[in-house]
Symmetry: none
Subunit: 217 residues, 4 copies
């Protein structure tokens, strides 16, 4: 996974092991910043090169195509969420609802910690060519199945409203998690931790007893 974003074969020598990883990371960081500010479509290779203080021709020592920058960013993000899943799965002694709560907190925290890249991800994933994009979509489906099964377990254990559709709830859960990138302000009133907590509570509330409120005519 780690290096899959590199078209590889023709690009750079890379003689011994994994050289120059730091410079690669700088390139991704610059791309992330500019994509976040201007959007991928409105960013030129020149813009990224300027941010790095090199000429645009030189940038091609690190990438083969502009799209590689996007894919590099996205690979890193998915690696991060994969870790969240691993951690939540491995946490001992939690019931399904507590596990869901933990997942939401961790995912929200991760997203807010990687605000720029997450923003780029949800804005510009569609620009990645179909083949590579499908890989990301599959990984996302995996997260969805993870959450859906947590909700089902909670319903089976009598901890959540069984009248609600677990898949649909899962979508609402991810809505709450993901949408934070649209309204979180790093310099705002609420800290990332507070936001993660409130999102978790909102989600758990919605899953547990959505059915208790009487719908209006």
């Amino acid at each position: 996974v780690e290096e899959s974003w590199r078209g590889a074969p023709t690009a750079r020598g890379r003689r011994r092991g994994v050289p120059h990883r730091r410079r690669d990371e700088e390139v991704l960081q610059a791309a992330s910043k500019i994509f976040y500010e201007r959007g991928y479509a409105d960013t030129t290779i020149q813009d990224v090169a300027d941010e790095l203080g090199i000429l645009k021709g030189s940038l091609y020592h690190y990438i083969k195509t502009k799209e590689d920058l996007l894919v590099g960013l996205f690979d890193d993000l998915h690696a991060g969420i994969d870790e969240v899943i691993d951690e939540v799965s491995a946490a001992p002694g939690l019931d399904p609802l507590q596990r869901l709560d933990l997942y939401v907190r961790r995912h929200v925290l991760f997203n807010l910690d990687n605000l720029e890249r997450i923003s780029v991800y949800y804005t510009d994933l569609r620009r990645v060519s179909e083949g590579r994009r499908n890989g990301f979509v599959e990984r996302r489906k995996f997260y969805e199945r993870f959450v859906t099964s947590l909700i089902r377990d909670a319903q089976d254990a009598g901890l959540a409203d069984p009248s609600l559709d677990a898949e649909m709830l899962s979508n609402c859960v991810f809505a709450t998690i993901i949408w934070t990138y649209r309204w979180y302000r790093p310099d705002g009133r609420a800290s990332a931790a507070e936001i993660a907590e409130q999102c978790a509570e909102f989600v758990v509330g919605g899953v547990v007893e959505g059915a208790l409120s009487a719908p209006p005519a």
Copy 2:
């Protein structure tokens, strides 16, 4: 508001009455379809013209710039949500929570009814020039204030968990509403009405008793 998306002065005469509104609507419809499929940035004026069966030069009888197509779409959308707000505000005999429930249902239904345009809205609003974009952002803030005050009223009336931040909850509510455009499938298992209902229940559950679930360590 209705015609504000037209740069107007130089584009077409239109001196007597409101002629040919139908053709304008066809133009927007074509733009909506193509923008939805390809994204605004990757759509050429040629693409839209092709969809209409005219030459690209001819399209400029209806618009002054490509951006006008976007703005035309967005104006229509905001007009629709404005109506939702009016309707929910005017509904008699509802407590704040019921009103919130109604708002969510109506907004979700409207969004799913206008799936393509809503998708374009959230994907490509950023491409509209700042001046015009600000107008839309302001209108969105109005919706947010509307929901926030419903939540506050519910908290004051003892209908909702007072320990949660109303503004933050409002963000979660909109997350649930808006994100539907990302996972709804018109030909899927659940109807738009069912989705609207479940979203409303999820939201009300999250607002009402988020605080009751014990957070895990």
Copy 3:
């Protein structure tokens, strides 16, 4: 000559004699104004139509091509200068120098009276297609020959410095006459008549005794 600017055959009926000449003149006047302000190349047919308060399609009832507007303007101008020549030729009892003086005055006055059109003429004659342009160039050469022979007559009569080349002097004379459109300001300090007089004096001075001043090393 008068109507030669009309491509004619296909344009308008014109059933009885010379109908609608007034409207034609309005069209030329509008074209003159706009060409003067923006230049021919930067003026659109739309601009001229706007000035007339009609639609651009309608303008084609009066012209066949955009170039016709230019040619119409230029025909009028040449007709005016032709009259100046006739008048100066017919004036009785003048020696060649006096006749030159009169010509300069009359030509300058005519140019300043038709400032906009003259400006368009010298700016945009080159845009007229070669065939039609040649006609104008020929007419201009006729004026030049007229002035050149006045100078020669003056030299022969001992009234002007014979050491100067008459053709070259003629060019300087026209320089003085024509260039006025570049610096004359209708609301300026000097009246058109005063300018005409001073130009005439300058020209006569230059022709008469250019040779008397000692050239510097």
Copy 4:
């Protein structure tokens, strides 16, 4: 001044010294030739690129906009005339009339040496955007004031007809100088030097004793 025509910041690196000035000059030379032949408005970037034997996209390595080509040409011209002024101002032991004579000769010679560019200048200066154009207009006003004060000095010294308006005479002087680009033919009978001399004599004659010729009725 020399490099001011380059929009600079974004165009090409050019960090060390002044590399490739030759290529820049070739670009301007090509532009000059084509603008002279076809006029700025009727010249496409493609035309200029063809003249250089490169693709039109490549031309944008040297310029940011088409207008830059014009401005580059004009900057060079003004630099040339500035030198003429400096030289004439510094010439020792000349009375005002001799200085005027020298200025006319030098200016005419410069213009005829730069025939194409001068032609483009007087034809297409108006196409330069207002901000940049004003700079050129100011420089031209400076030349006019220089000549006007030479004439005033000559009048004060009893060398020129005091009854004529110095400013107006200055306009006639420049008319004579500038208009040469309209009638000079490099392969014609008269050499550039001969033309410069005759222009100078014509001008001095016009300034000296314009008032002596008796105006006709």
